[in-house]
């Protein structure tokens, strides 16, 4: 009799579980997890002078003093946004800010420069910014149209905007050449390894590889494709979430960042995956996130937490408008924050992400987002799996 009762109770429990599976799933979603916490600072950065506006803000970097460097496409403002820059002017405000901008930790604009000049080819469409251990500012470019000419170069400048070097030639014919060792194919991002003095190039919008060059000479050292394969430029068609994962990257290869333990984290954006490699390009592991995402894909940029082990990996998803917080070792997604919108802590195409020495996160938004935002590190704490906007006091 007792056994029967237990059985009946168990059966009831099973039925109950089935009936409330959705509710349980939601409950699981709301389970608190321990993770780094952040709060948006709506007052950072400070307003820029001169009626300057940001357009598509397509890269963010950090220097040794925790100054924040961004690059944006100043030619992308609409006529009605940049009324003062029209001929004749349609209004007394506003005009594009120069493409490269440096903000101090308070969010005050310091240096500003960039654009075409003598001795180098400014990109048709600048993309990505990195400040290396020698203080050099690196910029990529993803401009060009299929069949026409496009960006095949990387640029280096001093922090005052003085031209230092150009690697790869501009005005390349727009054909993918992922096994070419003389120029690039529309570079998304650069990351310089201070220990080996090598630059990792996410290459790119045309090519389908990670390229590594000498950071002083630009000499090609090695390159690889997905899973460490030799890159193959065959058009693999659009991403299909129900098809097997392909053995090549899908353009754009959007980031290639090196961790303290010498692992390279690559954003295979339209494949919705992160692939991890050794510095030599040996495949280690991979992780898909939001795998049903189409279009631009979910893996736009990565940044590391600032603890000595870099325990966490932050991933910007400009399609689903949120930042994922991953355990770097397992690539498990712990939580995410952000949502779509134009208010603080919301995003429109969050494109680039970086952390400073205090653990704060900075993000930039492209398309019509056109912002630089700061998320203040608030220590490790309990957060829901899906946080939504991270407003103070929320």
């Amino acid at each position: 009799m007792k056994k029967l009762l237990i059985g009946a109770t168990f059966l009831t429990a099973i039925v109950g579980l089935n009936l409330t599976a959705g509710a349980l799933e939601r409950q699981a979603q709301n389970t608190l997890v321990e993770a780094p916490r952040f709060e948006v600072d709506p007052m950072w950065p400070k307003p820029m002078p001169n009626g300057w506006l940001l357009a598509e803000t397509i890269g963010v970097g950090i220097d040794a003093r925790d100054h924040v460097w961004i690059v944006h496409r100043s030619d992308k403002l609409s006529a009605d946004e940049a009324g003062a820059a029209q001929n004749p002017p349609t209004a007394s405000c506003c005009r594009p800010a120069p493409p490269v901008l440096e903000f101090d930790t308070d969010g005050t604009l310091l240096r500003s420069w960039g654009g075409p000049g003598q001795g180098y080819d400014w990109p048709i469409s600048n993309h990505g910014i990195f400040v290396d251990h020698k203080g050099i500012v690196w910029i990529g470019g993803n401009g060009g149209s299929n069949g026409g000419k496009g960006d095949g170069q990387i640029l280096k400048f001093t922090q005052d905007g003085k031209f230092v070097a150009q690697y790869g030639s501009a005005q390349q014919t727009q054909q993918a050449a992922s096994n070419d060792t003389t120029h690039f194919g529309r570079v998304a991002k650069i990351f310089v390894d201070p220990r080996a003095n090598e630059a990792y190039v996410a290459d790119g919008y045309l090519n389908k590889r990670v390229a590594v060059i000498d950071a002083d000479t630009g000499a090609f050292k090695r390159y690889w494709g997905a899973y460490g394969n030799k890159p193959d430029d065959t058009n693999m068609g659009a991403y299909d979430p129900d098809a097997p994962l392909i053995q090549q990257f899908r353009s754009p290869v959007h980031c290639a960042d090196l961790s303290v333990d010498n692992l390279v984290y690559v954003c295979d954006r339209p494949n919705n995956r992160i692939q991890v490699f050794t510095r030599e390009g040996k495949f280690v592991k991979e992780q898909q996130i939001a795998k049903r995402t189409g279009g631009d894909g979910s893996i736009w940029d990565v940044a590391f937490s600032k603890d000595p082990q870099q325990k966490y990996l932050f991933v910007a998803d400009g399609k689903n408008e949120r930042i994922y917080v991953l355990v770097r070792e397992t690539l498990e997604v712990l939580t995410n924050f952000g949502d779509g919108g134009r208010q603080p802590g919301q995003f429109f195409a969050v494109h680039s992400i970086v952390t400073d020495s205090k653990g704060n996160i900075y993000t930039t938004e492209t398309y019509e987002g056109r912002r630089l935002q700061k998320f203040v590190y608030k220590g490790i704490g309990k957060v829901p799996r899906t946080q939504g906007v991270v407003w103070p006091g929320k």
Binding site: L54, E81, G83, A91, G143, E321, G340, Q343
Partner: protein, 419 residues
């Protein structure tokens, strides 16, 4: 409240940006000099109003803002037709291209004073023609919601093409993210020009439609409009004033209960003509006709303030349409013009007009007696307290200012009085 205490100095900096010496614009510095002399009211942006929308909803271009008797804030926005499905609303396509975000919010949204979304409705339905593009919104004494239908007969103009307040629809977003970009979505099918205004109950039940899309008739029509931009309720006379509009060049007054036509007038109180004036030229004599009539706002003393946006001017009338005076605002402004919408301060004398200048990306504070600009709020930008195409303004009973941004602004912002 705690968060407001935490941020005011920063917010102040944002709002007062236009007054700082690093601004290169001589006109703005001068405006602020006048502001200091005449003590124009100061405001702070509240970066955390309204609260986040549910369901991964986002706003399209906001075309109207109004405040009701309970200080609830009503907005109307363009929704999907102003959003880019590739970059902005990936859940709107079939199949969706995003997993999590975003979707357009319903076109009409009501927020309580704390910024909570308390109701939402709108869109096509039985018995009425939802606007191709909404314009302004007004609330009458019964809490009924009036919406102007300001939409365009032709496919929307390309970005930056001076499409006017109705703005552009989402297209290819200029190649950011570049390769693999989907082609721009096909232009929407041609629709007849909006020529009507709509009246709904507070819960969104359709009550009445005046005018019919495509039947624009003329500036003399007593039954139809031509892309009316905005409207205003006059409780004293139970009348609705209609800024008519983008197509016509007049103010029309109708009975708020029956919708019956009562009167109309053009610039200087004259009969409006169907022929459009030449393109605005700051050096030319003032046009005898309105260009784009984008607002009509009533003061408690019976004065009627009309936005002649394309002419950068405010014209003032009595309620019968008798011309009283006019003033140019930011006279050198080209393109869409400077005077987009007007609301009045809440002091008994209503000493100030707040003028949305979406071309200059700021709100002008205008002394009502002299019609002189005495201060500004905000400038261009996407951070709190700044603007992209601010086209709508409204004020609640506490003196809080609410703004709606169209084009790529796509925000509603709240500004609280005080430093």
């Amino acid at each position: 409240m705690q968060r407001r205490v935490a941020v005011p100095m920063g917010v102040l900096a944002v709002v007062l940006m236009g007054s700082t010496p690093i601004m290169s614009s001589r006109s703005r510095v001068a405006a602020q000099t006048r502001a200091a002399a005449s003590a124009a009211p100061a405001f702070q942006a509240d970066p955390f109003w309204p609260k986040p929308l549910p369901n991964h909803w986002i706003l399209g271009s906001v075309t109207g803002v109004a405040v009701d008797a309970r200080d609830h804030v009503w907005i109307v926005h363009r929704g999907l037709d102003s959003l880019n499905t590739r970059t902005e609303s990936g859940l709107s396509t079939t199949p969706p291209t995003a997993e999590d975000c975003c979707l357009p919010a319903p076109p009409v949204l009501e927020f309580d004073p704390a910024g909570n979304l308390v109701s939402h409705w709108g869109g096509p339905g039985q018995g009425y023609d939802w606007p191709a593009t909404p314009g302004g919104i007004a609330i009458d004494a019964k809490g009924n919601v009036w919406i102007a239908a300001a939409g365009w007969p032709e496919p929307p103009a390309p970005r930056g093409g001076g499409a006017g307040r109705a703005g552009r629809t989402g297209g290819a977003a200029g190649g950011a993210g570049g390769a693999g970009a989907a082609p721009a979505p096909p232009p929407p099918p041609a629709r007849p020009a909006d020529a009507h205004v709509l009246k709904f109950s507070p819960t969104g039940q359709f009550l009445q439609q005046l005018g019919k899309p495509g039947l624009t008739e003329s500036n003399a029509s007593k039954t139809s409009f031509n892309r009316p931009a905005n409207l205003e309720f006059d409780a004293a006379a139970n009348e609705i004033y209609i800024a008519d509009g983008y197509g016509n060049r007049r103010v029309v007054v109708v009975d708020a209960t029956t919708g019956a036509y009562k009167r109309h007038w053009g610039a200087y109180g004259a009969a409006p003509e169907d022929t459009a004036p030449a393109a605005y030229d700051p050096a030319a004599p003032a046009a005898k006709q309105f260009r784009a009539v984008t607002c009509v706002t009533l003061a408690k003393d019976g004065m009627v303030y009309v936005c002649d946006r394309g002419s950068n001017r405010i014209q003032v009338f009595d309620k019968t349409g008798k011309f009283v005076k006019e003033a140019s605002v930011a006279k050198a402004t080209l393109s869409n013009g400077s005077v987009w919408d007007i609301t009045l301060s809440i002091d008994p004398q209503q000493r100030y007009l707040f003028v949305a200048d979406g071309q200059e990306h700021q709100v002008l504070i205008v002394d009502r007696a002299s019609l002189q600009t005495i201060g500004t709020i905000g400038t261009g930008g996407r951070i709190p307290g700044r603007f992209n195409a601010v086209g709508s303004v409204a004020m609640d009973s506490k003196g809080n200012l609410y703004t709606g941004e169209t084009f790529e602004g796509k925000r509603v912002q709240k500004f609280t009085p005080g430093r």
